[in-house]
């Protein structure tokens, strides 16, 4: 069976791939991957705690990007300053999303550990968010020129994209902050307790729904950060969330639901597949590789790299 287009021209012609380019690919892949990991972080928190598959996650990212876009376009500030507005905005957005839309479903199914109705409801939210945005803002792809767009610097032969480097830094800061929050603050501990067993936690006096709201809010707030990070180099349009949505789910499963290091490492793995993989085949095939890896993980170790074994 000969499939034309695979393996493509580039792999057949190249006999050796220079080391520099591999290193460059690794660097670029890691940078982009860390941003993917950041996006997956919010999702893994939500899934780990509330056991909710949030299909509207990508749409929350889209909301974050549009918010960042408008803040930057209207006030001309640096996108990272826009964080001040975008992050709290997204936090409350997530908080109320959980409270108004998802809570009723959870309440109706309080005996089931993982209601599949929630998947459906969050899918509905996804459709609504994406299409209301389409109606209000139109389908055009918006791009913003910021002070760091298109900038890069060189370390020896390796070129590092400045906005993506900032993305990596943001990821590190947010992850550290999140870990500290979960480990040392009272609310953080409540969240962890509720994630292990929501019935027991509620018996202990923890208002499980309030905890869920906050966890969801934090998850969405993280998407706000990702929005600001992506703005300097990516375009804003109503369905931007869809691409990231699917990737985030793959990363979260790959890394293990509820695991923070899992999300980050999973993100980097995906980033590397896309970046290094693309050097050996047409970039359109790397998408397929990512799906295959995902399916392999699902079948071999559904708990993911760092997840705990559950009775799947």
């Amino acid at each position: 069976m000969r499939i034309s287009g695979f393996p493509p021209v580039s792999a057949v012609r190249e006999n050796e791939v220079k080391m520099d380019f591999i290193i460059q690919a690794i660097v670029s892949g890691t940078l982009m991957g860390s941003i993917y990991g950041l996006a997956a972080l919010g999702l893994t928190l939500i899934f780990g705690v509330i056991k909710v598959i949030n299909f509207a996650h990508g749409s929350c990212l889209m909301v974050g990007m549009y918010a960042a876009y408008w803040v930057v376009t209207l006030t001309g500030v640096n996108p990272y300053l826009a964080l001040i507005v975008v992050v709290p905005l997204l936090f409350f957005f997530g908080y109320f999303l959980q409270d108004i839309v998802i809570k009723p479903v959870l309440e109706a199914q309080s005996d089931v550990r993982e209601p599949t109705e929630v998947i459906i409801v969050t899918s509905g939210v996804w459709y609504i968010l994406d299409n209301i945005t389409l109606m209000i803002f139109g389908a055009e792809y918006r791009v913003v020129q910021t002070s760091i767009t298109g900038k890069s610097f060189e370390i020896g032969e390796i070129i590092v994209s400045t906005p993506k480097l900032y993305g990596l830094i943001a990821t590190i800061i947010v992850s550290v902050a999140l870990v500290w929050f979960l480990k040392y603050t009272k609310m953080g501990k409540s969240i962890r307790a509720a994630s292990l067993d929501r019935e027991a936690a509620s018996l202990m006096g923890i208002n499980q729904y309030r905890v869920f709201n906050i966890a969801f809010g934090i998850g969405t707030a993280i998407m706000g950060v990702v929005g600001c990070v992506l703005l300097p180099f990516y375009y804003v349009f109503p369905t931007v969330g869809v691409i990231f949505d699917v990737k985030c789910f793959i990363i979260v499963v790959l890394g293990g639901l509820g695991s923070i290091p899992g999300a980050l490492i999973g993100g980097i793995i995906i980033g590397l597949i896309e970046s290094v993989g693309a050097q050996f085949m047409a970039s359109t095939w790397t998408e397929l590789i990512v799906y295959l890896v995902f399916l392999a993980v699902l079948f071999i170790k559904p708990a993911g790299l760092f997840g705990e074994e559950r009775d799947w």
Binding site: M1, R2, I3, S4, G5, F6, I53, V101, P104, V105, A108, E114, T116, E117, I119, I120, V121, S123, G124, V125, W126, Y127, I128, D130, N131, I132, L134, M135, A139, P238, V242, V246, F249, I250, V253, A282, T284, W285, E287, L288, Y291, L292, F294, L295, L298, F299, P302, W312
Partner: protein, 337 residues
């Protein structure tokens, strides 16, 4: 007259009306709307075998539509094989693929199954988008395949919409019959039990997994047939339309809103939601694009919160209430005959 008699009369009127529709509706546009409506009703009914009876949430069913369409079209373009036969071939290929995918994934719980089916669906789409030819068979990658005009019955191509109307109507009736029949034989009970109380079912020695796979195979076979129908109706298809995530989700949404696991639910969902799509596209697409999807989303959320069994339940009650009023029967509250 009694309620039962009125009910029977209405049913007969409905069936006669549907089957004789083309006699008094001539406009190809109306017919096209109805054809697409039955097409979706057929798809959701087929989906229901897995999504409803087997109790899981498949979100990648468009892959089977695509497999059916590509198989029959490739066989037609390359070997001149009549799409009628190609349709069956497509269905078989879809069933085989569905079984291969089903065996490992049906073991996964709820959310994971959903994600796995999504990944497979997207995987098939990406694969076909990137592949121009498999051996001698031309797939044309992202450009899709345009079937040359060559009108004849054997080529499954008709100038008028009427033959298409009857074909999809008959397919829908067959799908409904298959669903009804399966619910009455053992497999239906096993799947029902497996969906509600999997542990209990297993304790009783029911091989739930095996029946789930059988349901999957049948569902995929039927879905594959729809793919060929679509190809012959439109004479053109390409990966993003026929293999997309949007398509998979649309099928699932309609079935869920209508009421999965019931016989009438999926059809009902299509009956109500498809006109919404068509209207909003005709009247609003320039002012408010995507309106129909917002409506889908809203209805979906409301239904899931308030009527998780789908709207067929309240509609059912409403219908009975009307019948009662009309025939002057008054039933005591809570007492059902």
């Amino acid at each position: 007259m009694t309620k039962e008699t009125l009910d029977k009369i209405l049913k007969i009127v409905l069936i006669v009306g549907v089957f004789t529709l083309p006699i008094w509706i001539n406009s190809p546009t109306y017919l096209q709307i109805l054809i697409l409506l039955f097409f979706y009703a057929y798809l959701t009914t087929s989906w229901n075998l897995v999504g409803g009876w087997a109790g899981v949430l498949p979100l990648g069913h468009s892959a089977y539509v695509g497999i059916g369409a590509y198989t029959s079209t490739v066989l037609f373009m390359h070997y001149g094989l009549s799409p009628w036969i190609g349709m069956l071939a497509g269905g078989v290929v879809a069933a085989i693929v569905g079984t291969i995918i089903g065996i490992p994934t049906l073991k996964l719980r709820g959310a994971y199954f959903a994600l796995a089916t999504m990944a497979f669906g997207e995987g098939v789409r990406v694969f076909i988008e990137n592949t121009d030819k498999i051996g001698p068979f031309v797939l044309n990658g992202p450009r899709g395949i345009c079937i040359p005009l060559n009108e004849s019955f054997w080529n499954f191509q008709f100038m008028s919409k009427v033959p298409y109307y009857y074909i999809i109507l008959i397919m829908l009736c067959i799908a409904l019959f298959v669903t009804w029949y399966m619910s009455r034989i053992r497999i239906g009970y096993y799947l029902n039990a497996g969906g509600e109380e999997p542990e209990a079912a297993q304790a009783l020695g029911v091989n739930v997994a095996k029946y789930k796979v059988i349901a999957m195979a049948i569902s995929c076979f039927m879905t594959g047939l729809a793919g060929t129908f679509y190809a012959q109706l439109m004479l053109y298809f390409y990966p993003k339309a026929i293999l997309g995530l949007d398509f998979s989700f649309e099928i699932a949404f309609i079935a869920l809103i209508g009421g999965r696991g019931t016989l009438a639910g999926p059809v009902l969902g299509a009956l109500i939601l498809r006109p919404v799509t068509d209207f909003s596209r005709i009247y609003f697409s320039s002012i408010l694009p995507g309106l129909h999807l917002v409506i889908y989303g809203l209805v979906l959320i409301l239904v899931m919160i308030y009527q998780p069994r789908g709207i067929q339940e309240p509609l059912n009650r409403f219908y009975n209430w009307i019948l009662d009023k009309v025939t002057g029967n008054i039933e005591k509250k809570g007492v059902k005959s």
